[in-house]
Amino acid sequence: MKRRKFDMKQLPGKVGNELDDRFKLASPARKLMTKVFPDHWSFLLGEIALFSFIVLLLTGTFLALFFEPSMVEVKYDGVYTPLKGMEMSKAYESTLHISFEVRGGLVIRQMHHWAALLFVAALLVHMGRVFFSGAFRKPRETNWIIGCVLFILAFFEGLLGYSIPDDGLSGTGLRIMSGITESIPLIGTWAHNALFGGEYPGEVIVTRFYILHVLLVPGILLALIGIHVGLVFAQKHSQWPGPGRTEHNVVGFRMFPNYVSKQGGFFMLVFAVIALMGGLFQINPIWLFGPYEASVVSSASQPDFYVLFLEGLVRLFPAWEFTIFGYMVPAVFWPAVIGMGVAFTVPIFYPFIERRFTKDKAHHNLLERPRDNPTRTAVGAMVTSIFLVTTISGANDVIADQFNISLNAMTWAGRIGIVVVPVITYYVTHRICLGLQQHDREVLSHGIETGILRRDANGRFYEVHQPLAAPDEHGHTELEYNGWVVPKKMNRVGALAPAVKGFFKPIEEDTNGEKRAIESSDDKKEVGAGRH
């Protein structure tokens, strides 16, 4: 029998053809694979959040195999000595079981917690990038709002996860949540009793939170992440301004193979960092907190970092209680409920607030550097400073203890700081932005400072400037300010050969440095395109 010849080279093509015949994939796949993404480090911050969310789903699935969300009281009979014979809930007992008896359980639990912190931290950093570059402007307001909702969901998802092991710390946090719920006027008590199924702590809260934590909230998160990323595809990624970049094009790399391989590698890196932290850094040692009892409240009982700003607001706010129509509104209502409400809603509406002031209704696919919109940058820095002051105040007892500062002094520093620091931050940031802009304009009109001092016949010293274009008779160049990187070092425009490129080490050997010095007009273009 004649042996059929098998051609390896034709296999992908054949498979592709067969698939296309059935599913009509060729056209959408080509569109996807040839899609162009602009390349800049700051565009990769959102991916950290996306990848840590994937790690969360993977590790969370593992934990769910062993966790029992039940508040039934049991007697501990596991391996951890100092809890032997203690009464505790099934939830806490099974978390101890995961930590000490399930193979690899503790490292997966720790990875899950670190991934959760990384997820929220990356969300914040990514939101900061989108905010400070003006990427939320038309047509991307919807995606900004979805992003804000993702943050709010992540916030509550983390809080739910923090609560369900039913250890001493999570119970303390739950007690605070219960108190905040009760402080809401009119509906507080009803809302609380509906949530907890009666008085705190009741017997159902862990079970309810568990279902929210593993099914409902992650489901919504996943769907919204899908829409969020889908919108980036549909609306195309925004890009930094630069030579050849307009409002109507995208300059960058194709999805395949360039972008896909970079993203694949980056996922491995994110996974590696989470795994490393899960293995090296102890997080949430529930066996030290002990089972939850109402009488047990440890000092330094803090929420996870993204809730710390609320804790700080509660600590800083004076104990003002109002009685309205005979009903008392507790002091905690203002910082916790109103504070949280403002923190969650104002960012959602920010694109519309800004548009109302700037009256800017145009499409924006080109980003703005922070310095080119000093007011927005100053507002962002101001909000960041409020977040920092309140977050630091949320941990002020730990700081006071470790740095030998009076706790009272810390509280008052926070109270004064939350009023004074944002104002100073706003002003200073605004001035810095204007200063940076001015320096860019100066370089454009006078050239680059070379560091070469000359002395003329009269004895006067002056610095030689290297003009970026042919100067007029006053030595000025009229170059347009276009909101992108202006070269500020002489060798970047060709007086010397550029230093060997690459972030850690060069990609290729620098064999013809001399030659490149001569062909230096090329380098200028490369810098201008901002591909560093």
Binding site: D39, H40, W41, S42, L44, I48, T81, P82, K84, G85, M86, S99, F100, L106, Q110, W114, L117, L118, A121, G168, L169, N258, K262, F266, L269, V273, I274, M277, G278, L280, F281, Q282, I283, P285, G290, E293, V296, V297, S298, S299, A300, Q302, D304, F305, Y306, L308, T391, G394, A395, D397, V398, A400, D401, Q402, S406, N408, G502, F503, F504, I507
Partner: protein
């Protein structure tokens, strides 16, 4: 011959009476000496008084300026020591808190200025002045904590979380109190000092008298503290100080976000 005979009889009779009297006295005295807690039974007190005298000398040199010449306290400088007992003195002196370096919110642990022997002498002097709870030795406590069962250590943990954790923290790391005061970390604190601290309630600490926490319960608490301090961190070599979520939040930015931000620069730079 009758007269001298009679004389002799009377003399003999008197002599007999004297002998009986002396005999009775000796009997009563002997019985009394035998039964009464006589002064001769307090032979060790001589040593104690010697120790207390040594202590008084140390006291007059190093403590008198704040606690007053008769340990009755000086307003605004140091409290009265009458009735605080030797346990308080040994805790404060052996942990280096006393004498204080300066007047401040709270005396802190430092290199002790006196040897344990001198601390004992000071304790004897204060004990002599007004009584109070007496100090214990490390060996006594260690002998008791050595053979506790797992359940007893677990009970100690429960007692620790209920009574101690609210100031000293869930993992004995200490915590802040108001106006610069603080609950110190318990790592590396000798077990007799912990016991004396519970007994006497130094500075801002409440007193856990034997009616509140029995000596057995105190020993259980100490056993739990020692268990925690024996480097038991199954979660990894880097404990972040066991401060809870605040340092974890710091770590995710300093380690996680920083590393990955560098990674983004690296990835975007390779193009």
């Amino acid at each position: 011959m009758a007269a001298p005979t009679r004389h002799r009889h009377r003399w003999r009779r008197r002599l007999g009476a004297l002998a009986r009297f002396i005999g009775a006295l000796a009997l009563v005295g002997g019985i009394y000496t035998g039964f009464a807690p006589g002064i001769y039974a307090d032979e060790p007190d001589k040593e104690f008084e010697k120790l207390a005298a040594e202590g008084k000398e140390l006291y007059d040199n190093s403590c008198v300026s704040c606690h007053g010449p008769k340990a009755e306290g000086v307003d605004g400088r140091g409290p009265s020591l009458i009735g605080v007992g030797g346990a308080a003195v040994e805790f404060q002196v052996n942990s280096g808190r006393m004498p204080m370096a300066r007047q401040e919110a709270q005396a802190e642990r430092k290199q002790p200025m006196f040897t344990p022997k001198e601390a004992e002498a000071l304790a004897a002097y204060i004990q002599q002045l007004g009584g109070g709870p007496e100090g214990v030795t490390d060996e006594e406590i260690d002998a008791l904590t050595g053979d506790l069962s797992d359940t007893e250590i677990a009970e100690g943990g429960e007692l620790f979380r209920v009574n101690c954790g609210s100031c000293h923290g869930f993992a004995t790391g200490g915590g802040a109190l108001s106006s610069g005061k603080y609950a110190p970390a318990l790592e590396g604190v000798a077990s007799d000092e912990i016991y004396e601290a519970m007994l006497t309630g130094p500075q801002n600490m409440p007193v856990f008298a034997n009616a509140q926490l029995t000596p057995e319960e105190k020993v259980e608490v100490i056993a739990y503290i020692e268990y925690l301090n024996e480097d038991r961190d199954p979660g990894g070599p880097l404990t972040l100080g066991r401060f809870g979520p605040s340092t974890e939040g710091l770590a995710i930015f300093l380690v996680g976000i920083t590393t990955l931000a560098v990674a983004t620069l690296w990835i975007a730079g390779k193009s």
